[in-house]
Subunit: 367 residues, 4 copies
């Protein structure tokens, strides 16, 4: 881990005391987080995350949000939707499952409160699927897959990037349901969603079932997603990364930055990085990798504000986003977020389309 | 894990929908926790912990609190002090480190904000000790040890249970400093503190240094603590357990219940159990053991309300206790908490002393 | 978790004693594992994994292997290659990173021993990338990407499933290097490899760079992979799952089984499941999900032999596969593994091609 | 974390390639570990642990072993016994549970193979206790407690350090059973055992039951243990620490070194440190603390060979000690281990008794 020259006097090390948290009735979540800035361990890290997110919003950066883990099934989908709607983030990269479980609820169905010690054979008999302490009706999932396949028949018979496909899916869902959710919020706010591992999800299964109806349907261009996400960074080279849960979104967001730098040297990685993860670095996996390690790859600029919160997102996102709803209000209102138009094959950013199907090597830009 | 007969119809499984958390500015911590009751995973568990703690307070139970991990160094000592002062708990079982770090700050010193990636050799050179991201002046620690040794010279030359010793220590500290902290709050509120592993802490080191001055000093009777804690349960057989961090306190609290049941059969384990831990069950260690497993041992009554929150306490205790400050106010005000007098060798509970040095096998009691 | 009717007598519970492990010089790894069958916790689970893998090999099942985490960079790629060559597994599902790091070494380059506490800024300056305690030359990675792009120009200008693409890549690599590795072993043994999240990897980056040369290059059909993997299960419905590290491969292997069952009801999930993971179930993510939970989804047959080993694969695979090299020799020699021909668009299994681009709904089969 | 000046050229970083592990039938455990020295992550750490332990044995150091977690119940007690008998370690610091479960089996009883998903209420009804996947007869435990209480009545009516008490207990057990185990091996090999948290264990419960028979029985002097363990380090200032599972033993071993240095400055911490743990550093607890952090406290000399293996001990100790049985044979045979006589109140080391009841501040020694 990179570090600055160590102080040479004791007083230089010992200058900011821990301040014990004092409980009071009537504290707001933001006051709680403010007090947590002066405690230790993951509590302090959460408070730092609160500050780092505020700084991102006050700076001129494009904010990626990565979502992995069962966030939608676990009750966090409207938090993500709200981050999109208020433009606390600018571009979502997600696992397919989170989008599928979002679609499930936007279509009017539910996940249900269960227990991790229920009899799984009994569940199987009843066509009920379990995600730890949460249950869902498998027959409704089967029907979702069919609904997706039917939606796909309304598309053109050509490959779609997941970004374009998910925009269309969000629009279709909004027209049919008029309900809030991740996909519909992203459609309405014109916020792009990438899903690099779409083949590893029930949305992918729905696409495959569309192809069963017509072999020219259900084609996705995930390599096109790599190009488009990199061109987005080339267009808007100052970026930030908010990662919840690790997985493919964490790497894809970093890859967009690294690949952009390959074609337009000097981009230099994210300016801010915040991750909420439960994996640890010492087994070598990418989900748990540290933000210091990210610097070696050029995924992160060397002086980036960065913080890792080691915790379950269901514990962390509700208080964190509740606090931001107050503390970041000014920044959100005055923020000049990138403006997208997502209806066509080419993503339009701030009025100018990105190049399609090839990396943008032409731009001469100072940043 | 024990479970009831599974439902035979799908609708019996799927009856309580997950309700996605909706962010709003101005939510109080208790409103946030209330909404988290209907999400999943550890977020839901935290909301359940909030409810279980309220139920404990409304019921006639003796509430043990176990504290392990670097809670005091990490900025949580005044939360624990406040739980003691408001009698949200009735008896503390702690590692020595938490009490020692509390004493350090009550004596007017500090822990300091640091970084986990600092140069540890430089720290060693400067006489600075590190606890992950938190620093402390080693020379001040040396001086604390000496202060403790001097305090011990004021005691009688006989073995003390840790409970009696820590009461005297709290009193001495209060007289000298007049400052809030765990030890001083417990002294003032007459709440007993047990420290079964005192020999594995700097308080133990201070006691050993007292003996260096006089071989008749620094004797503790930790077996006496076993007897007294069991007699406490025999006197007040309806109990609850709040465990933060596992370790020796977790087991000691359970052991008090099991040992009490041995001499007064029918006690039947804690009525409520709430644990906030980071260890996991599948390596077999006691810190991470599940509350279902606890039932096999009779540590927990079979129908106990119980919940495990898998998280760092620094993330969880600030919002949880902030919410309780409001939501449990009525229960705390009307609560008939056990009343202790701790100045003598025998702990006095509700006006009657516990038997000293032997288990109370005489009581005939209905509960 | 499903369980059988509990025994009603103590002796029915307490019938198989733990046998303390006895150390002796000269024990073979298989003798060590044999003794570990009678200890507890993850040690016992590893011994069970050894037995379960042997049972798979003795039964007529198609064995999937899923690989996630930095296995290749971490020194395990020749273990995976050997599992493929000896047909201890029949079909690999992998993250892109594992295949890319394999390609890197097969091309004659190395990963290097490093330290997790090295200065990451210094690494960045030197163009060195870090994976926890392992280092790699970033300039060589850039050259790999270019090599992949050049390879892609030798392919037809049409979408390839990752399975077909990786077979061609393995062949190209074998012709150029003649060296052992995952990709070359799979090519030579005609073992299929799927990479559902290829867009989230440097192989995907190489594909995107090919498209920079020609917009008709670098197209992959990941939805085709869903169909082909399901048709493989429809053809060979008795399956087993060996999962190392969770991630997208874990879910993709289960999805193939579930999707196959949708078109050919009665398949009923894997007959055997073995997973070596570091994630835990209680945060709700798929990587850490339990094999009991898998039963609720129909991913696993209700009576499947199954075991989870909670450990880093670098600790577990070397002794486990070393033992299997001896203990499974007979099964491996007499095993009638599915025979693949992978050169064309349609995968040929045991002499008969799978249907391309649509699920196989025609087969009438008894199993 | 302390680090040396980083190399300035790429080739200085990238000089020792990872060598992929190659599976072969007939490899011995030591050959497996030797090959694992060149892989990554926890696999490499285990190989390093193997080397570090060999180096300890070849050097003139006093080796502490700390044991926490359910090692004895989990089938590792004879490994620990063998480490004691062969003097691969010189002094044991243990939780009470490990010694109690050892006593249980040495007395001819067993722990039993169970499942983590068994019905705990049924177990409770049958008087069966569960430790994750391991079961034990609670009625036999009750009888053990009584046996311990009866043993205690044979002791003098004065406080015993846990070290002296456990030596007597081991002797009593050996005379009665003639069976191998931790306590009996330590008795026979004259290896001291400290149990600083004895009050938090069933041995403590047995002691408390002895006091029920006679108030002058069951007194332990845990502060005396602090003094004796420090005097041991003062006598033999070159030390090594092998920690399995963290907990109170980990800290007590470090405390002995720190306290010794207080009275005899210049000792400078352990020369070697090896820990096998499942806890992580980022929650601030001592069990998971890093060995770099230990240096800031002076628990570890700055240039100590040290390694942390993040894994369950049941996975790691069987292969590691099996390999050492061969690879360390020469060192074990030629080793000049400290020679103890433990029958009296004063521990005799190499023919000279340690001072009792006060720290040894008189020695003038060069080391």
């Amino acid at each position: 881990m990179t570090k600055t020259k160590p102080p040479s006097k004791k007083s230089e090390f010992l200058n900011l005391p821990v301040e014990p948290f004092v409980v009071q009735p009537g504290l707001s979540p933001e006051e709680i987080l403010h007090r947590m800035e002066r405690i230790s361990f993951q509590g302090r890290n959460l408070a730092t995350a609160h500050r780092v997110w505020q700084k991102m919003l006050a700076d001129n950066v494009l904010i990626f949000l990565g979502t992995a883990g069962a966030l939608s099934a676990g009750g966090l989908r409207l938090i993500i939707a709200q981050l999109i709607t208020t433009r606390a983030v600018d571009c979502l990269v997600s696992t397919g499952a989170n989008l599928y479980h979002d679609l499930h609820e936007t279509r009017g169905r539910s996940h249900f409160i269960g227990s991790p010690t229920v009899d799984d054979h009994a569940l199987q008999t009843q066509h009920i699927d379990r995600v730890y302490d949460t249950l869902v009706d498998e027959d409704e999932f089967v029907e979702n897959d069919n609904w997706i396949a039917t939606f796909v028949t309304t598309l053109e018979k050509r490959p779609y990037t997941t970004r374009e496909l998910l925009y269309q899916l969000g629009g279709h869902l909004w027209k049919e349901t008029g309900r809030d959710g991740i996909l519909t919020a992203a459609f309405r706010a014109q916020v792009p969603i990438f899903c690099p591992a779409i083949a590893d999800s029930s949305i992918g299964m729905g696409l495959s079932q569309a192809r069963q109806r017509d072999p020219n349907l259900g084609h996705v261009d995930v390599i096109g997603d790599i190009i488009e996400s990199s061109n987005l960074v080339i267009r808007h080279p100052r970026t930030a990364s908010v990662v919840v849960g690790g997985g493919t979104p964490k790497n894809f967001i970093n890859q967009a930055s690294v690949q952009a730098d390959f074609y337009r040297p000097g981009i230099g990685g994210h300016r801010y990085a915040l991750q909420i993860i439960t994996d640890v670095p010492h087994f070598g996996g990418a989900s748990g990798s540290s933000l210091d390690e990210a610097k070696s790859w050029g995924k992160l600029s060397n002086d980036a504000d960065r913080v890792t919160v080691q915790a379950d997102a269901t514990l962390v996102l509700p208080p964190l986003t509740s606090a931001l709803a107050t503390t970041a209000r000014t920044q959100l209102e005055s923020r000049q977020a990138p403006r997208f138009e997502l209806g066509g094959r080419a993503m339009v950013v701030d009025g100018k389309p990105l190049i399609v199907n090839r990396f943008d090597t032409n731009r001469v830009e100072v940043f």
